[in-house]
Amino acid sequence: MKKHLLLWAAYALVLVLLPSLFSSVLGISILNQMTIWILFALSYNMMLGQGGMLSFGHAVYFGLGGFMSVHALNLIADEVLVFSITLIPLVGGVFGLLAALFIGSFSTRKAGTVFAMISLGIGELIVASSLIFVDFFGGEAGVSGDRTYGPAFFGIEFLQDSEVYYLGAFWLFVATLLMYLFTQTPAGRMANAVRDNPERAEFIGYSTRRVRFITFCAAGMFAGVAGGLFAINYEFITEENLNALTSGRVLLMAYIGGLGFFIGPIIGAVILTLMNSLLSNYSEMWMLYLGILFLLTVMFLPKGFAGFIMMHRAAWNNGKMGSLVLPYCLTALPAGLFLTAFIGMVELSHADELLHFLSMDLANDSAFSWFVLAMLAAIGAGGVKLARPRLAAAWEHANAAAQEAKS
């Protein structure tokens, strides 16, 4: 228990200190995006990782929460509603929950492919209707609001991005805590049981449909809260935040981070937000890299980055981590070389004549540049091949020791 309290205190401390570490305009803007996406990815993990429901339309709750929040901002500006904009995420949450209550009432009967297809259908339906109901969704231009109206919150009027960050961080902390506590409740435990073996859960006497419904509604609500944060941060929202692109993005985040681990989506959201905001400055090909990263994760790290870290638990418990460091480095070095050369080739093929890459000037049409990169890639690939048996042996050794200790 004490250990848990310490972890949560550390989490709160990190959230508070981050803007001091990255105080540039870009830094704060990235942090703001992270609060939104972490919250959204956590809610997605609740649905898929905890409840076992693969959704291709999770952005619906995010987007609807966001749209209602922007409309609420406008109502505050018109003085129809009078409350502080710090409560806007709650508006998003309520409408996310209402949407989930309605949609979940018929879509949670089954998990698996049927659920996935219904979620896809509903997602497309909402996107299509967003282009029809122009008054509410604002058509392709979207709806915009202004967060500076309404009663000030202890003198803070949210003119600065850093003030918005603290608001987002507060709601993120509260939501993370609530979502974690949900995993500890009997309902949260039953969600796991229904995910793993619905038949058995039915035999014990639980209605799998109701268990799924509860998880589904909770996930929809937190997605709506994330949508509310989005509305406050960007002050506008478009149909893009409802569509399959956003739904796919949150799936990528949760999966790359690690499904089923509570911390997984946090890792995934951080990685993808960084890639999105930093890499897109350097390369037009970043979506291609993202696609490759995603497929490699699915193929080789089915439990994502969090799962990869957790794989080392046995070795760690037996103090064998030290023996893994050297083989890891020996594999990572040539792998890094291969990756660099590969990225160099991809970029070179799309550069206008000259590419400035690793302080080398590479020419698009010179066979020599291509040759150098190809050689580097070959050396890297060969190095990985040479180092792999050693890594496998070290891995075996570290885990075998763990098994001995157990028996």
Partner: protein, 316 residues
């Protein structure tokens, strides 16, 4: 009125049969592996792009021959080196893998061919009007599309039900272990079926590319509708997919052609509304406007009232 109806029917048939070409491969793959291949429409897009490039060298007919073969080989490779590995992690991982593959193929297409629309033309040989009805022309190319789709449906049906290969495939769908015990290489059969399914998608891409324009978003445009058709028809049911394809094709075509909507309905009912609330767009909706939504509505209705689909009997 009559000519609108006839042309809507013909156009619906063309769309429906094109959709069926995609849906048939998807259904076949689903009944084998139990996984809905989200990248199926991406193979359709690859078919169109490869055929576009090939036709620049040896003409449309060469593209029609080569592109599906290449796409099929690529599909088989994906099954062998990607999907087979992911299979051991379970169905959700497989579904997510194909989802990621669709994402990657779209990026790759933009990488190799760029983001712009390609000028992929129908062959000159078919550049004439097949017949003229009520002063409107029906192009020979559309007739060719209908003929090729029907031909594929017939060939598929005969191969699957009348030939030895078809019997082995059907047996490995229902009893993979028994078939393996009889000495057949079941994983190899799976790979071939996956390759054949993606090759069919490739054919659809080649013949649809010139009509529906060849651009990087073409997979997304058709993709979700094809998955929906497979689910409406009943997962794993070929006749179901056929019926659902035609149903969706005709439904959309009629809705686009119909000049009716809420205003007419309200007038007929004798109701009128004050038009001053946020949802007032609802009262001015026309059928052509909601045509793209109809397949999704149909899907949700089918899944609520008959979760197995029209012809399906597969419970999960």
């Amino acid at each position: 009125m009559n000519e609108v109806f006839i042309f809507a029917t013909l156009n619906g048939l063309v769309t429906g049969l094109l959709l069926f070409m995609l849906a048939s491969g998807l259904t076949l793959i689903f009944s084998m592996m139990g996984v809905l291949n989200f990248a199926h429409a991406s193979f359709y897009m690859l078919g169109a792009y490869i055929a576009y490039t090939v036709s620049g060298y040896i003409g449309f007919w060469g593209g029609l021959l080569i592109a599906p073969l290449l796409v099929g080989a690529l599909g088989a490779g994906v099954e062998r080196y990607g999907l087979r590995r992911v299979h051991s992690y379970g169905h959700v991982a497989e579904l997510i893998f194909t989802f990621g593959l669709a994402f990657l193929i779209e990026e790759l297409v933009q990488f190799f061919w760029g983001r712009d629309t390609k000028n992929y033309q129908t062959p000159e040989l078919l550049d004439f009007a097949l017949f003229t009805l009520f002063g409107q022309e029906f192009s020979a190319y559309r007739g060719f599309m209908i003929a090729i789709s029907l031909g594929i449906f017939a060939a598929l049906y005969v191969v699957l039900t009348r030939s030895r290969v078809g019997i082995i495939i059907q047996a490995s769908i229902s009893h993979p272990h028994t078939v393996a015990n009889l000495g057949h290489n079941v994983p190899f059969i799976f790979m071939c079926v996956f390759g054949a399914g993606t090759a069919l998608a490739g054919v659809a891409g080649v013949i649809a590319g010139p009509v529906l324009t060849t651009f990087p978003g073409m997979a997304v445009v058709l993709g979700s509708i094809v998955y929906i058709i497979v689910v409406i028809g009943g997962l794993g049911s070929l006749p179901g997919a056929f019926i659902a394809s035609l149903l969706v094709g005709l439904l959309q075509s009629y809705a686009i052609a119909a000049d009716a909507g809420m205003p007419e309905l309200l007038e007929w009912l004798g109701v009128s509304f004050e038009r001053s609330h946020p949802l007032n767009d609802l009262w001015t909706l026309k059928l052509p406007q909601i045509a793209p939504v109809l397949p999704y509505l149909l899907l949700i209705l089918v899944l609520i009232f008959k979760p197995t689909g029209l012809m399906g009997n597969r419970e999960e």
